[in-house]
Symmetry: C2
Subunit: 150 residues, 2 copies
DNA sequence: TTACATTTAATGTAAATACACAGATTTACA
DNA sequence: TGTAAATCTGTGTATTTACATTAAATGTAA
């Protein structure tokens, strides 16, 4: 559905205004879908993203501060997110040997298994309204929107 | 900055995966900027969006249920959002005469003045890395991503 | 009219979030 | 060495959110 119809707004002040509204609307659309898939598995979207960061470095540990840096939504307390994942035994948390301030976090086998199961759900198929080339192009335009130079 | 550099992820499983991550990342980028501009004026992004919905219909009232429908992020209790706006005297809330279950909400002059002041801030200028045509195009691609047909 | 389903807004509650700050450790450097 | 600044994680607290439920008003149909 076009956003005009869905949010019943007929006029935007400018193409830039429509773009911003559309961006938020589309983001919510995507997050809703994702959260719905994750819910039966007992994890939130944020926890899922942390797990994927950890898988990306597996079997190396990742410090809480690194997780914070890489999280998409600016930092909603990686500390407490990791708490939740530890409680579910999806990650292990150990004191970093070389820096006792820091904490090493590693995804567990159980965590890897969960991600593997979620991978197969292929929820991104819902985006196949775009061709692969279009997905690349759209992503590049988002980079440009943010003023990304490289 | 490219998301690869910023979130230090080198590989995405597919262009679709990169697109989804980019969408969330860009949305957060935009929301951060907006929230930062709104904060000195004492309103949140959500409250700002409600005010704009109300201005769109001014001077006609809008029911709480209509606000819920039109909000971008699926419903985080329009009732309580309106509460906050009433407390700040940015909107008026009156019982709907024709249906005593419903509540009519109208933006006040103070609310209109605040929006006018915010309009002039032109924060959307930050998006001028894109041309007007590109903004239109990007918006259309987001529509297509969601499978919007019209 | 009565009975019952539906719509609408508000509320209760647990969880998540934002934001500031505290405590421990490391780093920099005089 | 000694001391101040910076770094890293955890916590306190108020607000916001998600989700279910309640309560009132309306619609519907016997």
């Amino acid at each position: 559905m076009s956003i005009e119809k869905d949010i019943k707004q007929t006029a935007f002040r400018s193409p830039f205004h429509r773009l911003v509204v559309n961006l938020m609307y589309t983001n919510n659309w995507v997050c809703d879908h994702q959260a719905r898939l994750l819910k039966p598995h007992g994890i939130t979207l944020q926890q899922y993203n942390v797990l994927r960061i950890l898988r990306g470095q597996y079997p190396n540990p990742v410090k809480v501060s690194d997780i914070t840096e890489r999280m998409l939504d600016k930092m909603s307390n990686a500390s407490r997110l990791v708490d939740k994942l530890v409680a579910k035994k999806l990650v292990d948390r150990t004191e970093c040997p070389s820096d006792r301030r820091a904490v090493d976090v590693v995804i567990t086998q159980k965590g890897l298994d969960l991600l593997k199961k979620l991978d197969t759900q292929q929820w991104e198929d819902r985006l196949k309204t775009l061709s692969e080339d279009e997905a690349v192009h759209l992503s590049q335009m988002l980079d440009k929107l943010r003023g990304s130079e490289d």
